[in-house]
């Protein structure tokens, strides 16, 4: 919100500079986001008088002017056509840095020296609404009574400093000049100068001219005043100056004053042309279904019963608190006006403003909450201004319709409580000074604070609120030196990781050790990922975001695959040829669509590799899973995005899948522009959680040596390693220690459709050193078993 330094001075004596003030406001909870000096671009611009104009000796369109700038005369060359001898004009001199970026310096134009430039209104940053004549296409001609040689900022009243303050939602009362002024009083220890709310009225009574009916509960208070014989004209300069400074366009006296009061007092006001109010009745009511209204932004809306309107006996005149209607607005022909000053329910205004997409200074103010007594102060301030400027006849009595006056609030708490919350001791004297500085009447007796809360502080309810008021004004820098021991007045609590984090960390460590880098991706994805991934099951039903930024991030992923494959594809596209990534994240599975219950969230670690072989990849996944005590078997996977022949699942005896991995389905690889041998895998952390702890069952180790034998057999392709190994194990019986496949060999010489599998078989006995004969007997038994069960032949 923009307020100005000079405006604030109407209500508090400020004895610090605007910069210092801005710092102090920021440090007490009102962050000043920008300090704008109105005259930042007006230095070295003065009021000058053109004494003499001559033609340029060398250029048809240029003129050479002698200009009086007070302390001396200067020569200025210009192409402007609207100047004349005796004209009073703004003159920018060498060193000036105008708002449009033009920097002035001495120069020669076609051989004749020019010591500056005349300025247009635009070059000074003003237009007609601020200063008459400022919008013309040419030099700004100033009134003759302007003092020659004066700085232009002073001459035009552009010497204020604007503070752009960020008002937090708990302080709607500070969305006003007086609100911030009150804060400054507390900060600087000054007294608040109350706004002048006095005026004189004529005999005629408002009530005899207008009736007000408050029909809706969304309007706790409605006040109205009638002003007759109104002068609708240009506002005086000081009003226009202030509105200009805070970025509001001047329109006419009445409209300007309602805006002036909005900025100054924080109370939105609305002015009606009284002659357009049919039946001289104002009715505050809920809109009818589809009730039409044309408003000042040139749009028409159809309202519903949730919207609040101000209407006459026939039709809606105003969308309450949001925007006025065309029919009843103030025009040059307006003779009598009705001023509205109301309190509306913030939720109602918020909903309507959001629904029709119209946000005005008024609605912005109402949706944060306007307090009960603000309506009265606001309307009285307006009447005071109307009276001071002699703009019309104020009728006697303000119409005031309300439910009930809110009770005044009172908070009682001990200084000890405040100090316990803050953990630092604020002296009682400071507490009392701070609270009264903020307009909170308070009384401290025997260390008990009694505080009567002013009506504009609806945010203050308990001692925590008071504690904040005290410390923010006392200064948070008191904590800079506060060095208490950690939790010195608290009980010891036991810290620890949750199971998911524990498990996740173990697996991540294993994967990092195996050469994988961790990636982090969005869990929101485009709506078409299942098509790209060849998925045609329940995962197609994704939770959709109702208000997405774009389709790219519109759904919650039901599979980790899209993020991983996109990351691999990005790396591949930029020339990273060897890429191993993993990601720890979630998928979101809705029970049904549209979503009525929270979806199930499953934690996964997904993996991807360009460059590894299937079996290297498999080893990495198994090494990660071996951080748990899961007992699993490996079966072919049915994941639609994986190659059906080069993919596997880790399952338990009930068929629950804990991990899946394999080469991408060629169609999916193509969809993501990935090489054919790209690998993808995922580990279901949620399913693995019950197995998170490694279990060790240590058996005693034989003291007799291990005997190694190698065996290569030729079998048909369809015989698997797992088949052969289980046969070997059972044939070795009690002497089995270990078996490892160390070579797979295929060659035409072996025959078609067969392969040679070479195993290293290791035998050991608990009770003796094995003899050659015993070992040979076992090996014969193994070979026999392989021949019998799988048709194997010795190679």
């Amino acid at each position: 919100m923009k307020i100005t330094y000079n405006w604030l001075k109407d209500f508090v004596d400020i004895d610090v500079s605007a910069d210092v003030l801005a710092d102090k406001l920021t440090n007490s909870g009102f962050e000043v986001e920008e300090i704008i000096y109105q005259n930042a671009h007006l230095h070295d611009v003065k009021v000058g008088k053109i004494i003499k104009i001559e033609k340029h000796p060398d250029a048809n369109k240029l003129q050479v002017c002698q200009v009086d700038i007070g302390d001396k005369n200067v020569q200025i060359i210009t192409a402007a056509t609207n100047i004349f001898e005796g004209a009073v004009v703004p003159v920018s001199l060498p060193g000036a840095d105008l708002v449009n970026g033009v920097k002035i310096q001495k120069s020669k134009l076609r051989g004749v020296e020019s010591e500056g430039m005349f300025c247009s209104g635009e070059e000074l940053g003003i237009d007609d609404s601020y200063f008459e004549g400022a919008s013309i296409n040419g030099i700004l001609i100033l009134p003759n009574n302007f003092e020659i040689g004066q700085n232009i900022d002073t001459a035009l009243g552009l010497d204020d400093v604007i503070l752009d303050v960020n008002i937090t939602p708990n302080r709607p009362d500070c969305m006003s000049v007086i609100g911030i002024a009150r804060e400054i009083c507390a900060i600087l220890g000054k007294k608040f100068k109350d706004p002048d709310l006095t005026y004189e009225c004529v005999q005629e009574r408002s009530e005899d001219n207008l009736s007000v009916l408050r029909e809706s509960n969304s309007c706790p208070r409605y006040m109205a005043a009638v002003i007759k014989n109104v002068k609708i004209e240009k506002s005086p300069l000081w009003v226009r100056q202030r509105l200009f400074a805070v970025g509001i366009k001047s329109i006419n006296t009445i409209v300007d004053l309602t805006n002036y009061v909005l900025v100054e007092m924080g109370q939105p006001l609305h002015a009606f042309d009284k002659s357009k109010i049919e039946g001289d009745s104002i009715i505050v009511r809920d809109a009818k279904e589809n009730e039409p209204i044309s408003v000042l932004n040139h749009n028409s809306y159809k309202l519903s019963s949730q919207d609040l309107v101000i209407s006459d006996v026939n039709k809606a005149l105003v969308i309450a608190g949001v925007i006025g209607g065309v029919d009843s607005c103030i025009t040059d022909e307006t003779h009598d006006v009705v001023i509205e000053s109301a309190v509306f329910d913030l939720k109602s205004i918020r909903l309507t403003s959001k629904k029709i997409g119209v946000r005005t200074d008024s609605s912005a103010r109402y949706e944060k909450g306007v307090y009960f007594s603000s309506a009265e102060q606001g309307i009285k301030r307006l009447l005071n201004l109307v009276y001071r400027l002699q703009l019309g006849d104020i009728l006697n009595g303000i119409i005031d319709k309300f439910d009930h006056k809110p009770e005044s609030k009172y908070i009682e708490c001990s200084c000890e409580e405040i100090n316990n919350i803050l953990g630092v001791k604020v002296p009682e004297k400071n507490i009392s000074n701070i609270l009264s500085g903020l307009g909170i009447k308070c009384n401290i007796e025997k260390s008990i604070i009694k505080a009567w809360i002013p009506s504009y502080r609806e945010d203050l309810e308990n001692c925590y609120d008071l504690a904040e008021e005290i410390i923010r004004i006392y200064g948070y820098d008191v904590y800079d030196k506060c060095d208490n021991a950690l939790f010195d007045k608290s009980k010891v609590t036991e810290g620890g990781l949750d199971d998911k984090t524990l498990l996740e960390r173990k697996l991540k460590k294993a994967l990092v050790f195996n050469g994988f880098f961790e990636s982090v991706s969005f869990s929101i994805c485009p709506s078409d990922i299942c098509e790209k991934l060849n998925i045609n099951d329940n995962r197609k039903f994704m939770v959709k975001i109702a208000n997405p930024i774009s389709d790219e991030i519109s759904c919650l992923r039901t599979t980790m695959a899209h993020s991983m494959l996109s990351n691999l594809a990005y790396n591949f596209s930029v020339g990273n040829k060897q890429v191993n990534l993993f990601e720890s994240g979630r998928v979101y599975l809705p029970e049904s669509l549209p979503v009525v219950k929270l979806p199930e969230e499953i934690n996964y670690i997904s993996l991807g590799s360009i460059g590894m072989s299937f079996f290297e990849f498999k080893a990495c996944i198994l090494s990660a899973v071996s951080e748990t005590n899961l007992k699993f078997s490996i079966v072919r996977s049915k994941q639609p995005y994986l190659h059906p022949g080069i993919s596997a699942d880790l399952v338990d005896e009930n068929g629950v899948i804990y991990a899946t991995f394999g080469q991408l389905h060629p169609l999916v690889a193509k969809n993501y522009d990935l090489p054919k041998n790209t690998l993808y895998g995922e580990i279901n952390l949620t399913n693995l959680l019950p197995f998170k702890d490694k279990e060790f069952h240590v058996k005693s180790v034989s003291k007799y040596p291990i005997v190694d034998r190698d065996l290569a057999v030729i079998v048909k392709e369809e015989i698997s390693n797992a088949d052969l190994i289980s046969a070997i194990i059972s044939a070795c019986g009690k002497l089995f220690y270990e078996v490892n496949l160390f070579d797979v060999y295929r060659n035409k010489s072996l025959g078609d459709g067969v392969k040679s599998m070479a195993y290293n078989i290791r035998l050991s006995s608990d009770s003796k050193t094995l003899t050659d004969e015993e070992v040979t007997a076992v090996m014969e038994k193994v070979l026999k078993s392989l021949k019998f069960r799988y048709g194997a032949s010795l190679r």
């Binding site: 939602p169 913030l346 918020r350 919350i421 803050l422 925590y464 880098f517 982090v520 969230e601």
Partner: protein, 339 residues
Amino acid sequence: MEQKLIEIRDNAREELCGIKEKEGLASFKVKYLGKQGLLTSVLRGMRDISPEDRPKIGMLVNEIRDEIESKINLKEKEFDNVELLKELENTAIDITEPGKAHEKGGLHPLSQVYDLLIDSCVNMGFKVVDGPEVELDYYNFEALNIPKNHPSRDMQDTFFVSENILLRSQTSSVQARSMQTMKPPFKIISPGRVYRNDSDATHSPVFHQMEGLVIDENISMADLKSMLTILMRKTFGEATQIRFRPSFFPFTEPSVEVDVTCPNCKGEGCRICKGTGFMELLGAGIVNPKVLEINGIDSKKYRGFAFGFGVDRVAMVKNEIGDIRSMFRNDIRFLKQMK
């Protein structure tokens, strides 16, 4: 006899000096000490010596044999050493060829920072609590004193799924859930992913937070200060200072913004901290008693503090990452720099 022995000894000494390789040494050994060797043949002549001279001669023979033997051994070792040196020299490799190891991967900078932050908090007695990302409006807002249509909802742009279901905009939703299930005193942190309808170079629609909550009987702003000072020192170094500035959050009262000594310039003032020496990093405060009451904790007996911050930001500052989007692009050339 004695004369002859001395002669043999002198000859052996001389001959030994001339031997330059191992083979020569072997034949030398045979020549003097072998069965047919010079010294042995001298011994054979012992019987011709008078019995009273025998011990003397015998001693001399032994002396000479010992001398020759030890000299041969010494020489042998000398030759072995030379040979070994030669072999070592011959088997030298080019140590500048690249190492062949299986290369380690690395954690994402975000995880590294999370691990650091989480471990620091766990050491101070905090438990890690997890919660859903798709959340009820109730836990994300209402239970935290942000009623529907309240102005404070404007502080965050939220992604909605339905009227009452949304993507959590803060991990405080986990705090609300925890307050309803855990018995005070407790200390929890809730690290996790959050979502906001906002996207540019400094804002990502998906980002990561860590929030903390402490509930006990005598908690104060001073506890908050000392706890956060420790956490920030573990994160940015022991010289780190923090300071409070007033702010507003619906779930805390008093509410503060917490500034941390700029990790880039260590407080000297630089471009990143706009010359202030401090960086705005956390939001914190004393838990609003209304929030305690909404979630079933007796606000007369208990008090708490809460804090929260963006972890992406911490990771970016610590690793001098300029654009938040590069954190989610997962280019391994980027990730490799932080392994």
